[in-house]
Amino acid sequence: MNKKVKRIIYYILPFAAALVSAVLYFAIPESGKQKQMNAPYYMCFLLAAIIILAVALVAGIFAKDFGKKLQGKLPFYAGLILFIAVLNTIFSKTKLLPVLYFPSIDRITGLLWEQKVFLLKNLIFSLGLLSQGFILGLLTGFFSGLALGYNRRVGYWLNPVTKFLGPVPTTAWIPLALSVFPTTHGANVFLIAFAVWFPVTLMTASGIQSVSKVFFEVSETLGAGTYYKVFHLAVPASLPQIFLGLFYGIISSFATLMAVEMNGNSQGIGWYINWQKSVMLYDGVYAGLIIIAVLCSFVLTMLFKVRDKIMVWQKGVIRW
């Protein structure tokens, strides 16, 4: 096939998919079981997405690299749009599935829109908790990993402790943390920090221990002292592993976040999901899940962006 024809087809695909979605939405009558919303929110969201895509495509004409990357993603976007259309058709046009667990796309998108301020508040709360715990866990994990990996005596005393306490699932610490800390917030921050601390410590220590011995000898013959060897040799050499530890840490911090938001307070996306579940409002559960998924993927994308920036010399241990 001609390259130009192929490109035109690529460009048309998502718009065609959107058109199909609209036809399915308006042409097939509702089953009548789903709660009806005040507006066709699903279609509004789809329209917004299509407009954003169109703007991005126009921008891609000028920013060639971006345009090329976007072009490769177009079939996927088209597929996603069609997939959602099929889901919505099954959920709201047929009576195949229980309405309680499978809300229409209209209801999910409608909820996202109508409760946006409330959801945003919860999101900000979750982000606050997450970042406090994350930063604490990162710092303690980095320095304890450094001490463990570099100093044999520290390793002798701390290694067994790390290996014994670290693998315990964070959620198992919840009862203890709640009774030890004066505030629930403090306990929650601690638990998230703990979830980050373990993988960061482990990976930092193992990263430093696996630095080639010759590198240390080279730096000694160049007149480097201990401080310089630690921060200008051991740390940069083990950055790939440290980032891997961070990656695992972030993932387990999300899991912990969801769990600790049950503790006493009534704020945060994790709490929201559980609350919606307990009152049997599954459109809220889906909305919360979407927000969490977007948040996780955004945070991890940022992590990998930072990694690629710092480690131009080393690419792709894990691709994101």
Binding site: E217, T221, G223
Partner: protein
């Protein structure tokens, strides 16, 4: 000018567990000379070099640099390792500047970095990472890194072993040029008899384990040397005979 770079090795004994590697090893290396250590594999050439470099601290006997006893590694002795061992997270510039920065004298000696990079012929590659340049260039960068702090002595542990023949000859000339320009002492471990003859003022032939000095051969050829000289072969035969490889030549002749 007082000549610097005198290495004195007195009665050094070194054991690795039960293995006796160096046996009352003594050697005096004159300032400004190029000395090669050659000998059967496992005879402790590299160990001796590491002792002088201060990387090997458990041994009997003593080693002095200009009358001062060597106890640990230091920037007065440059060390070129087998393989370039450049730090992969630093550019050529960053690798070369590493020692100066570690010693907090980078600001005053900033120009030295550019000078040495030019000296080893790497200008234009300052901002390349090690994986972006060829093996020969990596070895040049590694040499530059060892030389930038103006060590009194450069210790070379088979630095060219991993390179192809042409790059190797090229770098041999380069190292000799650097030595003459800076009037420094160089001590090199090598397996290559030709390389030892081509580069050295003295070739120290070591015996098998536990090793001591088997012979010291003065290479009385004028610099710059010519690789195709007949006298070269005489030195080579002499060294190979000492190493007990002389006899095998006859067998080889029958095969031809």
């Amino acid at each position: 000018m007082v000549e610097v770079g005198n290495i004195q090795i007195n009665n050094v004994n070194k054991n690795f567990d039960e293995v006796h590697v160096l046996n009352n090893f003594s050697l005096n290396i004159e300032p400004g000379s190029f000395v090669s250590l050659i000998g059967p594999s496992g005879c402790g050439k590299s160990t001796l070099l590491r002792i002088i470099g201060g990387l090997e601290k458990q041994y009997e006997g003593s080693v002095f640099l200009d009358g001062e006893r060597i106890t640990k590694a230091g920037s007065d002795r440059g060390f070129a390792f087998q393989g370039s061992n450049l730090f992969p997270w630093l550019t050529v510039q960053g690798n070369v500047a590493f020692g100066l920065k570690a010693r907090k004298i980078y600001k005053e000696r900033k120009n030295d970095v550019a000078d040495i990079i030019k000296l080893v012929g790497l200008q234009g590659f300052e901002n390349s990472f090690p994986h972006q340049i060829s093996g020969g260039m990596q070895q040049r960068a590694s040499l530059a890194r060892a030389l930038v702090g103006h060590p009194k002595v450069l210790l070379l542990d088979e630095p060219l072993g991993a390179l192809d023949a042409f790059t190797r000859m090229n770098l041999q000339d380069e190292i000799l040029r650097i030595k003459n320009e800076n009037n420094m002492t160089m001590l090199m471990v090598t397996h290559d008899v030709d390389e030892a003859i081509y580069m050295s003022d003295k070739v120290v032939v070591m015996s098998a384990r536990p090793s001591r000095v088997e012979a010291v051969i003065d290479i009385k050829l004028p610099h710059p040397r010519v690789r195709v000289q007949d006298t070269f072969a005489l030195y080579r035969n002499k060294i190979l005979e000492i190493l007990n490889f002389g006899g095998q030549l006859h067998e080889a002749e029958y095969n031809i």
